[in-house]
């Protein structure tokens, strides 16, 4: 009780200047980038949507008139159990001129039997199998090699798709002919499964759904999710397909950007995925994602920073933004903590609760303000509201620590090459070639 009184007295005694001094990190970086810039972009986007409406309708009409042939490729290992459900749900799609190609990357379970029988009964159009596992990139490339469509849609076997998802993800190709690849809106299906999944659902709604509308508008949208992405076949062919992962989704996005294409995020093309339901699994997944920042931004694609033939300002900015907000700020944050400990050590007792209060207020404000921009929600706002206070710990501490660990591991030890996600034969080559 006494603490609350003291805290209240302390909080009310802080003036604007002092508040800024204590929370400079928040005001300069986070509030600016993740609230002000995003909300401004979103408002502009919403405001101009009226003018885009007829153009989008025209694009949709052109798509439905031309009926381009599309190849849907689904690479994976031991995914047989999901394939029937996936194939069956794709039969419900509003857009039907596609072939469904399943690529089996050396499954050692029932997958071959399942897929062969599904192919026989016409549920899938083609089934290709590597008897020896070659990694996700080579599986996707095998699908690409034998796809006949003008567009290639990359799906994950264990995701499910809205009835109009395929139609919606194709429309932008006819809206802007310079678009080379389109990312779908990935939502969390199992958000009720555990606290861990619920927090990720909020994260996806925030950074993935709304955040990507903004970054797409700003031209700095970085990663087309492997769960749902559409590509111009010609662009993929020019690149020879995907390179070795992990992080191949981000990598292919950068490479398509480098070819001069625009990358677009389509919020109306909705896909539901299952996220890791325990923190242990989540840590493993995020370590892999975060390591790919170092591997791809700083090593493989460092040329975007140099003014050469393929130099583009949007690529440059996208990279700088990415590196600033993920790598540099991650380091800066520790400076901030040090600053607080040294200069405000005696007040930490009050600063930490105030910090939590501030972030929570920001999160709630952002969640509410951004809500109107989310067309399709998996649950009412109130369902998630009660979890919002926890997001401070999730974003501010949990993800940050995981990220730091990933950067240290990758920068100094290049551990991603040891990841069993790829077969050893491929990783060895990736490392040697500094990919």
């Amino acid at each position: 009780m006494r603490f609350i009184d003291e805290f209240y007295n302390y909080a009310t005694s802080v003036d604007a200047a002092k508040l800024f001094r204590m929370f400079w990190f928040f005001f300069i970086f986070e509030f600016f980038r993740f609230f002000l810039i995003e909300i401004t972009t979103l408002i502009l986007w919403k405001f101009t949507s009226f003018f885009r409406k007829t153009r989008i309708a025209d694009a949709r009409l052109t798509l439905l008139e031309k009926q381009p042939f599309v190849s849907v490729i689904v690479p994976g290992k031991n995914e047989g159990k999901h394939i029937y459900k996936l194939a069956n749900s794709l039969k419900e799609q509003t857009y039907q001129n596609f072939e469904l190609i399943i690529i089996d990357d050396g499954s050692d379970d029932q997958t071959p039997e399942i897929c062969r029988s599904l192919k026989k009964s016409g549920f899938i159009d083609a089934y290709y199998r590597n008897e020896v596992r070659g990694g996700k990139a080579s599986a996707a490339n095998l699908g690409l090699r034998y796809s006949r469509g003008m567009y290639v849609i990359h799906l994950d076997a264990d995701c499910s798709y809205d009835r109009d998802a395929i139609e919606n993800i194709l429309v932008p190709f006819y809206y802007d002919l310079n678009i080379g690849a389109i990312g779908g809106n990935v939502q969390v299906r199992n958000y009720k499964e555990s606290l861990c999944a619920t927090l990720q659902a909020i994260e996806y709604m925030d950074t993935i759904s709304v955040g990507r509308i903004a970054s797409s508008e700003l031209g700095i949208y970085r990663v087309i999710s492997g769960a749902f992405g559409a590509f111009k076949k010609e662009a993929l062919d020019r690149l020879g397909g995907w390179d070795i992962g992990p992080g191949l989704d981000g990598d292919i996005t950068v490479k398509i950007r480098k070819l001069g294409y625009k990358i677009h995020f389509e919020p109306s093309a909705v896909c539901q995925t299952s996220v890791p339901n325990t923190f242990k699994k989540l840590v493993k997944q995020r370590l892999r994602w975060d390591k790919s920042l170092i591997r791809f931004r700083l090593r493989k694609h460092r040329d975007v920073f140099f003014p050469n033939d393929s130099f583009r300002w949007s690529n440059f900015i996208s990279f700088i933004e990415n590196i600033t907000y993920n790598l540099i700020l991650n380091v800066k944050w520790y400076f901030y903590i040090a600053d607080m400990c040294i200069n405000f050590g005696s007040q930490l007792f009050f600063i930490i609760p105030l910090n939590i209060l501030l972030y929570t207020a920001n999160n709630i404000l952002k969640f509410l303000v951004f809500s109107p921009f989310r067309d399709r929600k998996n649950e009412s706002i109130s369902y998630f509201m009660i979890y919002l206070p926890l997001m401070v710990f999730y974003f501010g501490y949990f993800l940050r620590i995981v990220r730091t660990t990933a950067y240290v591991q990758e920068l100094f030890f290049k551990t991603s090459y040891k990841d069993t996600w790829n077969p050893a034969k491929s990783s060895a080559h990736a490392k040697a070639l500094k990919l």
Binding site: G134, R145, W242
Partner: protein
């Protein structure tokens, strides 16, 4: 030692009270004229002629003919199992008749021991003939021989001779039946697969495109280049100039399999429909009827060597009782046992009331098995049900029907003397022939029937046997 000169007069040879008939391709003789001859010598210079005569004799319904000793003269090597296994000896000149006389006598002696009981079922009749033949030749096993003339590729000469080459699959069904009856014992020899349309065993297995069934395709290795994750058929990597392998994505040469690249699988390209696939369909094309069949729909059959059981060996001399096929559950019929009991009571009733007239009758559809073999078990049962339904509509409610087997049925006709019974049977026969003809593509079934009034001076079962015998004689 005295040498009898062997003389052939009008194809006749006499030797020690034995009369031989010598067949050559010039002779035109009705088989029935062989009555009274003890053995036949066929001039086998013309294989086809010899085969024709052997088949004609061995398939005759009368044991007098089908058991007749046959010898071949001027026989040259042949692969035809009928020529090789259905004769009783080879001779090189007519002088050898002295050597074969003993064989003829031995067969004749054995023939006198046979039982000629008539069994009103197609399977049983056929099997009985085979068992009789085997007994007189002291054979214990029925062996399969590879035979290109037989539609299933195998022939069991002693039994197959009764069927056309195209009907060979029926032989296997008779074996199944005989095995169930405990007459023979199978010893696995080979497994065969038959066309589900025409029972042919001549199938051409091909790997075909799953999209268009064409067998015109090209197969290639898939190559995975590790450094860049590119994967494609080996032709993508082939350099037309110097035949080296170069990655089309990163332009590096492939160096060492397992180190910088591997071949994770094989891919096929169909030249007919341009599709790519990895899993061929295996289809069997029937050489006989040209149908293309997925292998899982082929009919698997065992080719066995059959040994006669004790029951089988005894059947030739003692006869055997067929247990009949289980066709009791056809609505409107009773089983044979019940039929006999009812007949027994009927007889008692007539004894007490001599003005009562009841007849028993037998109807046999002689060639119905040809139809059954075409339409299968299910349609067979449906046909029998329809026939019973139709017969029921044309007889009295108190009359009763029982199936002996699927080709023969017995009727108990109340208030009918022999004349009335014969009239009713005539009417039913015409109806049966008509129904089958209209429902099965004009199939002509041959219906035999016999009716007789029950009399009180012998047992009901005896009277049943009598009309059965009368019918088949």
């Amino acid at each position: 030692m005295k040498f009898d000169k062997i003389e052939i007069i009008d194809n006749k040879i006499e030797y020690e009270n034995l009369l031989f008939y010598s067949f050559d391709s010039g002779s035109s003789l009705k088989i029935e004229h062989l009555m009274g001859y003890d053995a036949i010598i066929i001039d086998a210079r013309d294989n086809d002629f010899a085969r024709y005569i052997i088949k004609k004799i061995r398939t005759h319904y009368n044991p007098e003919f089908y058991l007749k000793p046959i010898f071949l003269i001027n026989y040259k090597e042949s692969k035809d199992p009928f020529l090789n296994y259905l004769h009783d000896g080879l001779v090189y000149s007519y002088d050898q008749i002295k050597d074969i006389a003993e064989v003829v006598k031995q067969i004749f002696f054995k023939t006198t021991q046979l039982d000629y009981q008539l069994i009103p079922s197609f399977e049983a009749q056929t099997m009985k003939k085979v068992l009789n033949y085997m007994y007189t030749r002291e054979l214990r096993t029925l062996k399969p021989y590879v035979d290109l003339n037989s539609i299933i590729g195998y022939t069991f000469p002693e039994i197959s001779v009764h069927f056309d080459d195209a009907e060979e699959a029926q032989v296997l069904e008779i074996f199944d039946w005989a095995e169930r009856e405990g007459l023979i014992w199978p010893d696995f020899h080979e497994r065969i697969y038959l066309c589900n349309q025409c029972s042919s065993g001549f199938l051409s297995y091909r790997e075909v495109c799953p999209h268009c069934n064409s067998s015109n395709s090209k197969s290639e290795d898939l190559v995975h280049h590790f450094p860049c994750a590119f994967i494609g058929p080996i032709s993508d990597f082939k350099n037309p100039i110097d035949n080296t392998l170069t990655c089309p994505k990163c332009n590096k040469g492939l160096r060492h399999i397992g180190v910088d690249y591997d071949k994770p699988s094989i891919i096929h390209h169909c030249n007919s429909c341009d599709n790519n696939f990895q899993d061929f369909f295996v289809k069997a094309k029937c050489i006989s009827c040209t149908q293309d069949i997925e292998v899982q729909y082929l009919i698997p059959k065992s080719i066995n060597v059959y040994k006669l059981t004790k029951k089988g060996r005894a059947a030739a001399t003692n006869g055997f009782l067929s247990s009949g096929q289980e066709i009791e559950d056809i609505f409107g019929t009773i089983n044979m046992a019940t039929f006999k009991i009812m007949l027994h009571y009927e007889l008692e009733r007539i004894k007490a009331n001599p003005s009562q007239k009841t007849s028993i009758a037998i109807i046999n559809m002689e060639n119905i098995f040809e139809l059954y073999n075409k339409i299968g078990k299910k349609a067979e049962k449906k046909l029998l049900e329809d026939l019973v339904h139709m017969i029921r509509e044309n007889i009295n409610a108190a009359d009763f029907i029982a199936f002996e087997n699927s080709s023969t049925l017995y009727l108990g006709l109340m208030n009918a003397d022999t004349m009335r019974a014969e009239q009713q049977l005539m009417h039913l026969s015409i109806l049966i022939e008509k129904v089958i003809k209209t429902n099965f593509n004009g199939f002509d079934v041959k219906v035999l029937h016999k009716g007789k009034i029950l009399h009180t001076h012998s047992k009901a079962e005896m009277q049943l046997q009598e009309i059965t015998k009368d019918l088949f004689d």
